[in-house]
Each structure stands twice: as structure tokens, then as C-alpha cells.
């Protein structure tokens, strides 16, 4: 392995600026003449707006404008579209209510934006916003997911009967019913996948600017996908704005986890206000605002059934899920509980018949959309929980029941009954490595030792398969996706041999500036220090779809490889001419173009220079060395793995500590092991957070009770252990790097491992997430009673 090439734990290039305070996040940027925006947001979950009185705000010091939903409607702008269309069982399209950037008639969740106040300073804007009087007629709210679909429940949108957005299904119902009819044993479980609040550490921020002379718009925003935001603005939200006059820049972005994918109202409003006022307008979310405006994640209520034969072989699986959409459809919300969820219900297993029914429901809560894992954590959780319950009820060892049902390595490519075809994997390998590293066999000794200290110790296991690198555009289109999901790259080789790579992927913690440079360095035989990776600016990179679903390397990295292949092909032509050899006889290896079987060679640098100073040059070949490529994947990639968690519970308080956690993942080829491990550490911590600490709680009126870091329990350093992390690699078969993706595996595999450990420690069938001390204490008490 070359230093800094593929497989090297190269230290990150981006660290230098982040460690010295020289990062540039959106709120760090100020434009000349800039004004500040503050939003007037609904304090009610559901209310009709009778009147909005803005006079006092307009008269307040420093206020330059107050804009309302009526102004928006008059300008005929500001619609935020959904990006995915799901059809119900009966073939009807989902109910797709409009989502206006400022609401004029009815607010539908606490935090819904009613007006915006623009002032000279941030403080003046906030003070002005407090002076806007909104006359609300408060309406009963549909808050609880289960109650929202009952007849007579308040309607979030009149068009959505029983608050239902769609009622979808997947799989072969008849075959699944038949499997259940012939089963030796049927195991059932009802569970909740708790609602989470993403809480990237950088609150969202946006600056809009408009040049009245040139007509150019600039939006600087904390986004994971600036090109997607530009597309949605030009096509839907600001109709009539030419896309080439709209530049979207996402500079340093402080974490995303999905929550910064979406096309939020504020991005549009700062641009719209900037055009109206003729000056830049900036908005930065407070954390309290983030809690009620950033899309939330998960929030499923599920009934699951597993049919087994006498030996514990899985015969069939049924899922019935209610999925919360919140008050409006966020961009990818419809796809999350459907094609990103039920398609994963085979997991690592050969279950031959699967049938899923998912009903998406509107409620008077913040919109719910993709959050780290997006649909796959929910699938993994219900599957790995029901498998543990089945093992318990059939008296089969938890590991053994998984082994009996695993897809074997010789069965790939493996077609599941729920649409996906897994290309590669070795679930036995990740399982065995995890068991060994976690000392599964020695656990009972540790349990006994803990018992001697009065503690309940438990161990839990989970295995998973997930789908990344979304996806062939044609397939996505057939399933209702309204965008293509390919990725682009341009590789510019400069005359003196250094390289700039322009990618459509966006890095907000992932370290692309380092790993993509490693990839280029490895392929071209140059130092990673000679490679600069540029991302996050629609004026620099070609159109592309951005970063989510662990797709940056599998899709974006492959586009870079394709562009590099073109560079090498052209370089061979130039080298052949310089070396007076046939093009077919020139090979490129370790940074040198060599005539096969000879010592005649030109270095990469010599060939590059010749491309730009083409004095001796192939006839008809264009000078210069810059290539672009686009990659539309042939399939999803399928990372998989096994997580083992050990917990210790204080039975007197119910307090649960994760005392050991082992993650063994197959993420395909690893470019930078240090970064891969870091991604797993972070994902596992979010998963432990979901399992033990985090959960959004609304009261019956739709007030978010967990509306700040005081009420919403984020994992802190003392809440989690140090981790044991390893990889077992099978290469992806359909991209040239063999990469699969690592961004989400930690958050997908870990929650069921934690809950399985808690259930094992207490000796119970199930406990809901988050397994707070109160829940655990009650579970222990109830277990002792029975």
C-alpha cells in the first residue's frame, strides 16, 4: 500500500482549519449590507390564522420589513415540493398537501412559520418578531400516531381522510399467508421506533443575496446537497428564476445526519427577502428553533409477526406499520418507511415470504424525514427484536437461530422476496468475528460477577443488512422518486501535475477532502498532498445529487474513478506518442506510463506537461488534461454486519450502562480505516442514544416537551463506553472500488443489540426505546411480580 493511498489511515486534511478555528460555517460569513431575519412561529400545534398584525413590528427599531404568508401568496412563490411519490395499495397516489414557506391560513405544528421580520441586527429582528401579533383560533390537534387515524380525529389536511397520506404494501401477501398457515410457530411483537431529533451540532443557517444588476442570486446554506436545493428552488419554489442565475454554496457544514438534506422554508425565505429588499438577508437557527423546524426521524408504530418451522427456520414475516409524516411531506419522507424500509425486511435471512403494510399518517408535529439510516434502522430493529423473541419462545439459542437462517456466502447474488438483490456478503464471518472479539462464550462468567455486585448484566446481538448508494435512477424513478440519483465528478490535472477534483458529494464531517484525495493519489500514483477536493458550490462542481444514504464513495467515488480512467486513457495516448510506441503497448502503473516489457517510460508529470505544452503531441488529440464523468449505479450496495452489546443495570434505580460494545461491519473496500472507525463510533453512539436516551415527546396538545438539550437527552461522553470496532470485507461486485458505504451502519445495527442486551439482563420479552431508568425499573419490578 502506497502512503496515503487506498487502505492507509491518512490523517485528515480538513483538520488544520477545524482545529485552529479557521473553519467557515455559514453563520461565520457576513455579506456587506446584510440584514437579519427572524421568524414568527406558531406556538400552537393546530390553529386557524384569523389575522396577522404587523404594525408594531414594522415600527420597531431597526426593522426593515415584515413579510407574511399573504405576501408569499401574492408573489405566487414559496411552495416546498415532495421529492417522492408513493402509490397506495389501491393504486391511488399519496395525498400530497402543499407546504408553503410561510403559512397564511392554518398552522399545523408548533414551529410552523407564519411571518418573517427582517432588521438591521439579529437582536432587532428577534425583538421585532416578538411584536408580530397573530390572532389564532386554536383547533384540536392530531398528535398521537395511533389516535390520528381513528374516525373523528382532527384532520391535519382536509384532503387526507383519516389523516392518511398513503396505505402502501410490498411483497406477496398470498404466499406469506400460506407460510403462516403452515407454520409450526408464530411469534408476534408490537413495538415503537421512537421519534428522534437529529441535532447536528451546527444549527442551520442561510444567507440570501440578490444582485439587481446581474440578476444573480446567491444562497449560502448549511446543506448536504447544494445542487438539489438549487434544482428545487428553480423548478418549484421560485418559479421563473433561471437556474444558471442561482448559485447555492454549502461551505463547512457542522454535521447533517440527514437533517440538512431537505429543502427548508428558510433557505427560500432569505432569498426571497433579499430580492425584495435589495440586500443580503441572513438567518441562523437557534437550537430551540432547530428542535421544532429541523425534520425529525423514525417514529413508527409496528406490529410484526414471524412464522417458523419446527427447527426455527423462518417461513414468513409480516409487518404492519404506522409511519408518522408529521404535518407536511418533507422531501424524501414518503420513501423512508417504504422503499428504504420494508425492502430490508429479509435482513441477513433466507425468509422466503414477506409481506409489509405501511400506512403513512399526518399529525400536528414537525415533519419527519430521513435521519441517519432512514428506514433501515427501523427494519433492522423490528427484525432483530422478533428474532430474539422467537429464539426465547422456541428455546433456541439466539446466535444459533441466526446461523440457521443466514444467507450463505455461496448464495450471492441473493434475490430477496422484497425487491432487493444482494450482490455480496459474508454474514457468518462478521458474526463469528464479533462473537470472538466480544468474548460471547465467556459472558456467563461476567454476568455472575456482576450479580455478585448486585448488578444485572446482559448481552445482546444484532445482525443487519442495509442498502446504500441509492441507486439506479431508472429503478428509483419506477418506485416514485422524482429525481435522478447519479453522481458527477470532474478531475482537473494542472500543468505541473497537481490535481483538483470537483465532486457533487458534500462533506460535513465525513472527511471527503482526505479520502477522495487518497483515491486519486492511489490511482494516479501521486501524493495525496497534490490533490485538492472541491465540493459544496454549484458554481464550481457540475450538477450532482449530494451526500446522504452513505452514497458519497459508492456513487461519487465511482464517478471520480471513471474520470480518472479517462485521464489515464488520454495519458496513454500522449505517452505512446512521446515514447514512439503503440498506444496498446503502454501501461500505467505507480505513476508511470511504461512500454510493456521495456524500461522505456514517461512519468505522470512528464505526460501532463506534454498535454499542456503540446509541442510533440499526437495529431488530432486535444491539448489539456481534464475529464468529467457521471456514474449512475447499477444496484444498491449492501453493507452488513454484527453488533454485540453488553449492559449493566442497577436494579434499584433502573439505570443502564453500556459497558462493552463490539461492531464488526462489512462496508466493502476500506479507503481510510481511521475514518471508517470514526464513522462507526459516531453511528453506534447515535444508536445507543436511540436505545437508551433519546426520544421526542409531545403532549396531547402538540407541544414538544423535549424542546431543548435540557429535555432531550443527547448522548454525552460519560453515557457511552469505548468501542471495539473491526471490519470483515467482501467487495461490492458492481462498482470498481468494491466499496459499500459506512455512514449509517453504526446507527442501524446498534439499537437492537442494546435492547436485546437490556431484555437479556432483566429476563424479559421486550422493552420500548428509549429504555430509560424509569422504564427499566418498572420492567424489573413487573418481572419480579410475575
Amino acid at each position: 500500500m502506497a502512503r496515503g493511498g487506498i487502505g492507509d489511515s491518512l490523517k485528515r486534511k480538513e483538520d488544520a482549519r477545524f482545529l485552529t478555528g479557521r473553519g467557515t460555517y455559514t453563520d461565520d460569513i457576513n455579506r456587506p449590507g446584510q440584514a437579519h431575519a427572524a421568524f414568527v412561529r406558531s406556538p400552537h400545534a393546530h390553529a386557524r390564522i384569523r389575522a396577522v398584525r404587523t404594525e408594531a413590528a414594522r415600527a420597531a427599531p431597526g426593522v426593515v420589513a415584515v413579510l407574511t404568508g399573504a405576501d408569499l401568496a401574492a408573489d405566487k412563490v414559496g411552495i416546498l415540493p415532495a421529492g417522492w411519490l408513493i402509490h397506495s395499495k389501491d393504486g391511488s397516489p399519496m395525498v400530497e398537501p402543499g407546504h408553503p414557506a410561510l403559512v397564511a391560513d392554518k398552522v399545523r405544528h408548533v414551529g410552523d412559520q407564519v411571518a418573517v421580520v427582517v432588521a438591521e441586527t439579529r437582536e432587532q429582528a428577534r425583538a421585532g418578531a416578538a411584536l408580530v401579533e397573530v390572532d389564532y383560533e386554536v383547533l384540536p390537534a392530531a398528535v398521537n400516531l395511533v389516535e390520528a387515524i381513528r374516525p373523528g380525529a382532527p384532520l391535519v389536511h382536509d384532503a387526507a381522510r383519516l389523516n392518511t397520506c398513503y396505505d402502501w404494501h410490498l411483497g406477496d401477501k398470498a404466499a406469506t399467508d400460506a407460510a403462516f398457515a403452515g407454520a409450526h410457530k408464530v411469534v408476534t411483537l408490537d413495538l415503537v421506533n421512537n421519534r428522534l431529533i437529529p441535532n447536528a451540532m451546527e444549527p442551520r443557517s442561510a444567507i440570501g443575496d440578490h444582485d439587481r444588476v446581474t440578476g444573480d442570486f446567491t444562497l449560502i446554506t448549511s446543506s448536504q446537497n447544494p445542487h438539489l436545493i438549487r434544482l428545487l428552488l428553480a423548478a418549484f419554489t421560485m418559479p421563473g428564476t433561471p437556474e444558471h442565475k442561482l448559485r447555492v454554496v454549502a461551505p463547512d457544514v457542522g454535521g447533517g445526519f440527514g437533517s440538512k438534506i431537505f429543502h427548508y422554508a428558510e433557505d427560500f425565505v432569505v432569498l426571497w427577502a433579499a430580492r425584495r429588499l435589495g440586500r443580503p438577508v441572513k438567518w441562523t437557527s437557534t437550537r430551540s428553533e432547530a428542535f421544532v423546524t429541523d425534520a425529525h426521524g423514525r417514529d413508527h408504530v409496528t406490529h410484526v409477526e414471524l412464522a417458523l418451522d419446527r427447527d426455527g427456520k423462518f417461513l414468513g414475516l409480516r409487518e404492519r406499520t404506522l409511519a408518522n409524516m408529521g404535518a407536511y411531506l418533507s422531501q424524501f419522507a414518503p420513501s423512508v418507511p417504504t422503499y428504504l424500509h420494508s425492502t430490508l425486511l429479509a435482513g441477513c435471512y433466507t425468509t422466503p415470504a414477506i409481506y409489509a403494510e405501511v400506512r403513512a399518517v399526518f399529525t400536528n408535529t414537525v415533519p419527519v424525514d430521513a435521519y441517519r439510516g432512514a428506514g433501515r434502522p427501523e427494519a433492522t430493529y423490528l427484525l432483530e427484536r422478533i428474532v430474539d423473541v422467537a429464539a426465547r419462545e422456541m428455546g433456541i439459542d439466539r446466535v444459533e437461530i441466526r446461523r440457521r437462517n443466514f444467507i450463505r456466502p455461496d448464495q450471492f447474488p441473493y434475490q430477496t422476496p422484497v425487491a432487493l438483490q444482494y450482490d455480496s456478503g459474508n454474514y457468518q464471518a462478521t458474526l463469528e468475528t464479533a462473537l470472538r472479539k466480544a468474548d460471547w462464550a465467556g459472558f456467563e462468567k461476567r454476568r455472575a460477577e456482576a450479580r455478585s455486585r448486585g448488578k444485572l448484566r446482559g448481552i445482546g446481538i444484532s445482525t443487519y443488512v442495509e442498502a446504500c448508494g441509492i441507486a439506479p435512477s431508472a429503478v428509483v424513478g419506477a418506485l416514485g422518486g422524482r429525481v435522478g440519483l447519479w453522481e458527477s465528478a470532474q478531475v482537473r490535472v494542472h500543468p505541473t501535475g497537481s490535481v483538483t477534483v470537483f465532486t457533487g458529494a458534500h462533506s460535513h464531517g465525513q472527511g471527503h477532502e482526505t479520502t477522495f484525495a487518497q483515491l486519486v493519489a492511489d490511482r494516479l500514483g501521486i501524493s495525496p498532498d497534490a490533490v485538492e477536493v472541491v465540493h459544496g458550490d454549484t458554481a464550481k462542481s457540475a450538477f450532482a445529487m449530494g451526500t446522504y444514504g452513505s452514497r458519497s464513495l459508492a456513487v461519487g467515488g465511482t464517478a471520480i474513478v471513471k474520470a480518472l480512467d479517462k485521464i489515464v486513457t488520454k495519458g496513454k495516448k500522449i505517452a505512446a506518442h512521446l515514447l514512439e510506441a503503440a498506444e496498446g503497448d503502454v501501461e500505467f502503473e505507480s505513476g508511470r506510463f511504461v512500454v510493456k516489457g521495456t524500461d522505456r517510460a514517461k512519468t505522470f508529470g512528464e505526460v501532463v506537461l506534454a498535454a499542456y505544452i503540446p509541442h510533440k503531441y499526437p495529431a488530432g488529440l486535444e491539448p489539456g488534461l481534464e475529464e468529467g464523468a457521471v456514474y449512475d449505479p447499477m444496484n444498491f450496495t449492501f453493507p452488513a454486519g454484527c453488533h454485540v452489546c453488553e449492559v449493566e443495570i442497577d436494579p434499584d434505580t433502573g439505570s443502564t450502562r453500556v459497558v462493552a460494545f463490539t461492531a464488526v461491519d462489512d462496508v466493502g473496500t476500506v479507503i481510510n480505516p481511521m475514518i471508517v472507525e470514526g464513522q462507526v463510533h459516531g453511528g453506534v453512539t447515535q444508536g445507543i442514544g436511540q436505545a437508551l436516551l433519546e426520544g421526542a415527546v409531545y403532549d396531547d396538545d402538540g407541544q414538544l416537551l423535549t424542546g431543548s438539550f435540557l429535555g432531550y437527552t443527547m448522548p454525552r461522553a460519560a453515557d457511552v463506553p469505548s468501542y471495539q470496532v473491526a471490519t470483515e470485507t467482501t467487495a461490492c461486485t458492481h462498482n470498481p472500488l468494491g466499496v459499500k458505504g459506512v455512514g449509517e451502519v453504526g446507527a442501524i445495527g446498534s439499537p437492537p443489540a442494546v435492547i436485546n442486551a437490556v431484555c437479556d439482563a432483566i429476563g424479559i420479552r421486550h422493552i420500548e426505546m428509549p429504555a430509560t431508568p424509569e422504564r427499566v425499573w418498572r420492567a424489573i419490578r413487573d418481572a419480579r411480580k410475575s
Binding site: 482545529l19 457542522g254 454535521g255 437550537r287
Partner: protein, 156 residues
């Protein structure tokens, strides 16, 4: 508006501030020191941690006027002569940061811990960092980095 004088990263600074202005607002908005970040509005996240007279302080919990006559160090002032502070170097070496947003506060807090207790155990490091939220790293490599920097400080 009150006028205050203080040292910031070793330089004498005079600024006009409102009496309600927070130290973090003075640093970010008046002095352009945007390395100090704001991650919440309830003094929970620690992204705004700086040193005041050598002790770590959440700069959102202190009024700018309270810094009168005191010495403030921000992340921008931690490296000396272009050389990273051992804590910054350890975070780089051991991948103790991802998106970088919590990093300045995390580093400033950790530097204070090592000054107070150079032989802190992992458990003590985790307990100390309770006031600093990180959503990316899972803390694993941050704890390693703090331990490593402490070891390099030679238990001074």
C-alpha cells in the same frame, strides 16, 4: 454603551458593548473570532468554550462586561508560532473530530482538564467532558486524544 478593555489571545482589545452582550457575541460578532461556535441556547453544548484567565468557561454564560480586565483565550489563540498545541495535535493524530463544529470548545475544555488533572483516567475525562456535546465522533477518539495529550504534557 459600556466600553470594556480586555486581553484576547494575548492582544489588548477595547470594545463598545451593550450591557446584555454575551462574551461569545463579543468574540464572534465584534472581534470576528468565529472559531468559537454557538450550538445551543441553554448552555448545554459547550461549543462556545473559551478560557478566561486560564480556566474554561462557556462564553454564552458570561456577559462581555464581566470580561473587563481579564485574559481571554479562544481556539484561534491556542497554537503558538504556527505550532499546534499538543491537544490540537492529538485531536488531529487520533481523529478526534469530524465535522469540526464542537471541536474548538472540546479542545479548550480538554486543555483545562489536563492543566488541572494531567493524570485523569478515561472515566474522569468522560465526566469532565460532560458539558461538551459531540454528535459525530461518539467521543471514543476524543477521549483517546485527551489521554494522549495529557501523557505528552508529562503530568506537569
Amino acid at each position: 454603551m459600556p466600553s470594556i478593555s480586555l486581553q484576547v489571545n494575548g492582544k489588548h482589545v477595547t470594545a463598545e458593548v451593550e450591557s446584555r452582550t454575551l462574551l461569545v457575541e463579543l468574540l464572534r460578532e465584534k472581534l470576528g473570532l468565529t472559531g468559537t461556535h454557538v450550538g445551543c441556547d441553554t448552555s448545554q453544548c459547550g461549543a462556545c468554550t473559551v478560557h478566561v484567565d486560564g480556566r474554561s468557561v462557556k462564553s454564552c454564560t458570561m456577559l462581555a462586561v464581566e470580561a473587563e480586565g481579564r485574559a481571554v483565550t479562544t481556539i484561534e489563540g491556542l497554537a503558538t508560532d504556527g505550532k499546534l498545541h499538543p491537544m490540537q495535535a492529538a485531536f488531529h493524530e487520533l481523529h478526534g473530530l469530524q465535522c469540526g463544529y464542537c471541536t474548538p470548545g472540546m479542545v479548550m475544555s480538554a486543555v483545562d482538564l489536563v492543566a488541572r488533572k494531567p493524570d485523569a483516567s478515561d472515566e474522569e475525562i468522560r465526566a469532565w467532558l460532560e458539558g461538551n456535546l459531540c454528535r459525530c465522533t461518539g467521543y471514543h477518539n476524543i477521549v483517546r486524544a485527551v489521554r494522549s495529550a495529557a501523557a505528552q504534557s508529562g503530568g506537569r
